[in-house]
Amino acid sequence: MSAVTNAEKVKAGSAWGGGRSPFSIEYGKLMMWIFLLSDAFTFSGLLAAYGSIRFSNSDNWPDPDVVFQSAPFIPSGAPLVFVGIMTFILIMSSVTMVLAVEAGHRGSRKEVTKWLLWTVFGGLLFLSCQAYEWAHLHHEGYWWGRIPTEHNVNFSNLFFTITGFHGFHVTTGVVINIVVLINVLKGTYERRGHYLMVEKVGLYWHFVDLVWVFVFTFFYLV
C-alpha cells in the first residue's frame, strides 16, 4: 500500500522533483565540502611526498629543534616557541570564526562584523609571523635549493613549498573573509535573510587551521 503511495509521489514529482537536498545541507556548503576534500588530497600528496623523501634521507635530515630555535628577540635556544605562538594565533582565529558563524545564526550583523574583523586580524598576524620566519630562515641560508648545513637540501625545498602552499591558503582565506566582511557591512546577507556565506568561508578557514595542525606536527615536532 505504502509502495503505491511512494510510486505516486515519485510520479507527482514531490520526492524526485528536486528542490530538497538529500543531505539536508545547502548546495554551496556541499560544494565547499567537496572542494575541501579535494584540497585535503592535495595537501596529503605534498605531506606524503615529504614523508617518503624524509624517510629515504633519514640518515641525513636536519633536526627541527635546531633549525627552528629562534623567535623575535630570542636569537637561539628557544625551539618551538615561535611556531607555538603561530599555532595559538591560528586556533584563536578559528574560534573567532565560529563565533562569527554563531552570531550569523542569530542574525546579529554587528557581532558578525566584530568577529570577522578579529578573524581577518588573526589571519594577517599569522601571515606576518610566517613572513618573519621565512625571512629569518632565508637570512640563515635556507631557501629553495639552498641549505646552510651538510644535510639534504630537500628539507628546504619541502619546507618552503608546503608552508608556502599553506600560507597561500591563509592569504586567499583572508581575502575571501574581507570580501564577505564587505558584504556583511553592505547588508547583503541581511537582505538575503541568512548568513550562510559566513558559514561557507568559515568551513574554508577551519580547513586552513586543520592543515596547519598537520604541518606543525610533521615539520616542527617529529
Partner: protein, 111 residues
C-alpha cells in the same frame, strides 16, 4: 520550496554551537597542543624514545583534527550519510601515506 523556506528548516535542524561549547573545544585544542609541547621539550628521550613520541604526536594530531572537523566545521551534526561522504574518501590518504613511507624506507635501503 523557496530559498527562504529551505533556510528556515535548515536552521531548525541544526542550531549552531552555543558559546560555552565553542570555548570548551578551544581549551581542548589548546590543552592537546600544550601536551605536545611538554612531550617535545620537557620529556627526555631516555624516558620516552623518539619513536614512541612520534606515535603520541600523531595520535594527538588526529585528536585535534577530530575536534576541528567535528565541532568547528560542524560535521558531527550533519546527516550520517554526509559524514560518510566526507570521511570515507580520506581512507585513501592513509593508503598513499603508507605506500610512500614504505617506498622511502626502500630507497634508503638500496642507496
Amino acid at each position: 520550496m523557496t530559498a527562504a523556506e529551505n533556510t528556515t528548516s535548515h536552521e531548525a535542524d541544526h542550531s549552531s554551537m552555543p558559546k560555552g561549547e565553542i570555548w570548551r573545544v578551544f581549551f581542548i585544542l589548546l590543552g592537546l597542543t600544550v601536551l605536545e609541547f611538554i612531550i617535545a621539550l620537557a620529556v627526555p628521550e631516555t624516558i620516552m624514545s623518539h619513536s614512541v613520541k612520534v606515535i603520541i604526536y600523531i595520535l594527538l594530531t588526529l585528536a585535534k583534527a577530530f575536534y576541528i572537523v567535528a565541532y568547528f566545521m560542524h560535521l558531527k551534526f550533519e546527516k550520517l550519510f554526509f559524514i560518510y561522504l566526507i570521511v570515507v574518501p580520506t581512507i585513501l590518504i592513509l593508503g598513499v601515506v603508507a605506500t610512500l613511507l614504505h617506498e622511502g624506507d626502500y630507497w634508503l635501503l638500496i642507496r
